[in-house]
């Protein structure tokens, strides 16, 4: 118990490929997912649970949309912006989507540089990811403000069914909260990288667990998930 080894060890067990490998891993002792650190396993299972939350939100939205008694507002008109004298449908949403998807790219690169123990590049890319995420939230705030000015409220709106505003604020709000929490944690991880906590295995402030670069990948899993959820929200809320 005195010797403290983190719960992540690189390939200590030779792995078998394919279905046979899965069977071998699950029928073995100690670990069902060989060479997967605890934090990563926990993040995957959390994301599975979170998937059910977002699925419930989206299915509920579809249900209330189908059973609404008033016509549903046309999303491409509601979310149009007038730029250079022309009304362009969904342009802001398109830019937001582009920004968020780009942040997934920078996150993936941060993970790569993290495993190469390239502190400087990891730090820069994590900060860039956080900046893109914050930009996304900022644009979402702009979009909310615009809609609120146009009279859209959770309890009603001038364009049609009241559930349009309800579902819009609830779902984008819940997703925006996820992005905001992600930005905060990206900054925390970036600071840890910058200070060298992950190289020095400095214990965490609350948990006392030693830092390591797999933390960057776990952070990345969460971030990619939030992006993926946005793709579904984009498809069923804005394009439908």
């Amino acid at each position: 118990m005195t010797q403290a080894t983190p719960t992540h060890t690189a390939a200590s067990v030779p792995l078998v490929d394919g279905v046979q490998g899965i069977v071998a891993d699950w029928s073995s002792d100690q670990r069902a997912f060989k060479n997967v650190p605890w934090g990563k396993a926990m993040m995957w299972i959390f994301l599975l649970s979170d998937t059910f939350i977002f699925s419930s939100f989206l299915i509920s939205y579809m249900t209330v949309r189908m059973s609404a008694v008033e016509p549903w507002p046309n999303a491409s008109e509601v979310f149009a912006l007038t730029l250079f004298g022309k009304s362009i449908p969904l342009i802001l949403i398109a830019i937001m989507t582009f920004v968020l998807i780009s942040s997934s790219g920078t996150m993936a690169m941060a993970v790569k540089f993290g495993y190469e123990k390239n502190r400087k590049m990891t730090f820069i890319l994590l900060l860039l990811t956080a900046a893109l995420g914050a930009t996304f939230v900022g644009m979402q705030a702009f979009e909310w403000t615009k809609l609120i000015h146009e009279g859209v409220r959770p309890w009603g709106n001038p364009m049609g069914a009241a559930q349009f505003g309800s579902a819009f604020f609830m779902i984008t709000g819940f997703h925006g909260t996820h992005v905001s929490i992600g930005v905060i944690f990206l900054i925390i991880v970036a600071i840890k990288v910058y200070r060298g906590d992950l190289d020095n295995e400095r214990p965490g402030f609350l948990t006392g667990r030693k830092g390591n670069y797999e933390m960057v990948e776990t952070m990345g899993l969460y971030w990619h998930f939030v992006d993926l959820v946005w793709v579904f929200i984009f498809a069923v809320f804005y394009l439908w």
Binding site: Q3, V13, S49, V64, V69, M170
Partner: protein, 591 residues
Amino acid sequence: MDYAAHDASTFAPPAEVGEMELYHAKTFIGKYIWSQDAKVIAIQYAITAIGIGLVALVLSWMMRLQLGFPDTFNFIDPSNYLQSVTLHGMIMVIYLLTALFLGGFGNYLIPLMVGARDMVFPYVNMVSYWVYLAAVLLLVASFFVPGGPTGAGWTLYPPQAILQGTPGATWGIILMLVSLALFIIGFTMGGLNYVVTVLQARTRGMTLMRMPLTIWGIFMATVLALLAFPALFVSAIMMLFDLLLGTSFFMPALVSMGQQGEHTGGNPILFQHLFWFFGHPEVYIVALPAFGIVSDLLSVHARKNIFGYRMMVWAIVAIGGLSFVVWAHHMYVSGMNPYFGFFFATTTLIIAIPTALKVYNWVLTLWHGNIHLTVPMLFAIGFIFAFIHGGLTGLFLGNVTVSVPLSDTMFVVAHFHMVMAVAPIMVVFGAIYHWYPKITGRMLDDAMGKFHFWATFLGTYAIYLPMHYLGFLGVPRRYFAVGGTDFIPESAQSLNAGITIAALIVGAVQMVFLYNLVWSYFKGKPSGGNPWNATTLEWQTPDTPPTHGNFGPTLPVVYRWAYDYSVPGADQDFIPQNVPAGEVARSGSKS
């Protein structure tokens, strides 16, 4: 590594990871209050759950007093009655049983039984408990706000749950929904720990198919909870929005008390679908740990291996999977598409197959066993009775044509109390009598235990058997008073009075159990490390009660499954999981 080349009973592969980092607290507060030790967290969970459960017990008395002796007690008005019904159900299902089985037994037993030093993320585990406590305190707070707690029924169906006229529609329902959301957040933190500990932190030699069924039950229930609670979380948020922001997710346009409401176009059936998508798996979140634990109790106290271990595991997995596709059998009379009834009745009856398989295996475990009628064994047998009973009435309610006339009658109340109240609570008691020696180092008093068992077992039958009959007569559930109803005979009232007396007695008997818990902690017979001669790892710890880190300097290595009882040729009638084949004492040497 080629595992197949080795004889599994003599060889365990080398450790794949190093030792877990543990934070050893130095102060009293660090050890017992803000504790990161799963065993202390388990006891915190258990005490909180039992405490709030006692509140729910008193609420059931309020309800029964009104039903048994209407117009007698002027401290029970219709509002109090509905609030008692609601909070009794909600507390018992979620804040007592879910928290006790997963937070209590899960925390205590998972690390010990899989051979881990602690849960994988002790800090998150600690926060889980404190969030749970906050959820409980919010729930308790609803008794003290204007209007009192919600009286919407534990299912909280809109529109009535948030309309004026339902008790607690101003503050009670808000606190209820926020408390549920907090409970789910807290549970998720704990649940992730339980799942990852089982999957990723087992000791050397502990394969999934060598795990005790207790762990399988708790593991699968946790998986269900992680996937089912999101639907409740979402419906709680949406209902809060309907209430506080004036949205209309669940609320249709309606006229209430002569006033046109502010809502328009919502979908109340959507809430029922979301609620039962959580609610049905919830039944199995409570039942699967009970299934697992009772399998171990039967095996240990009948000195015989569990019958059909692999089938038992796969039945747990199958029941868990199927429990997600049966939810609308709670909604036959909701006005949903009648074809749904056909589908959900079919899936519901399919779930009877793995369930019946488990019951047969429990009974076959007892067959030709060396049965010790200890208190845990009595409760385990009591469970089999209650569960078969409740399972059979489930067949009535699973079929649409039989279920529709029985909907919302006392028959339903009797059914779900048998299957998911009496049956799991029998296992909770059995488990406490079984593991109390490991937790405290002392045995619970046997005489008090036997009295507790017989009074509880016979008492619950006295409550729920007649209740089925009331249901057949058409006595509705949740009614404050039936009044002069032609189709219900006068004699139903005397049956109700008898049920109430039985309920008061059964409730009072639980005080003997609580007294036993406290008395035995100080005066009980010292138990030693392994009083039941059980094989699983928690009984092989060097210290009793186990210290932080559980297993002393070296972790145990597992060489066999958890059920080597009465092995032919061995000197003792049990072989612990950490004994290799070569070290089993065999003086007879028949072979």
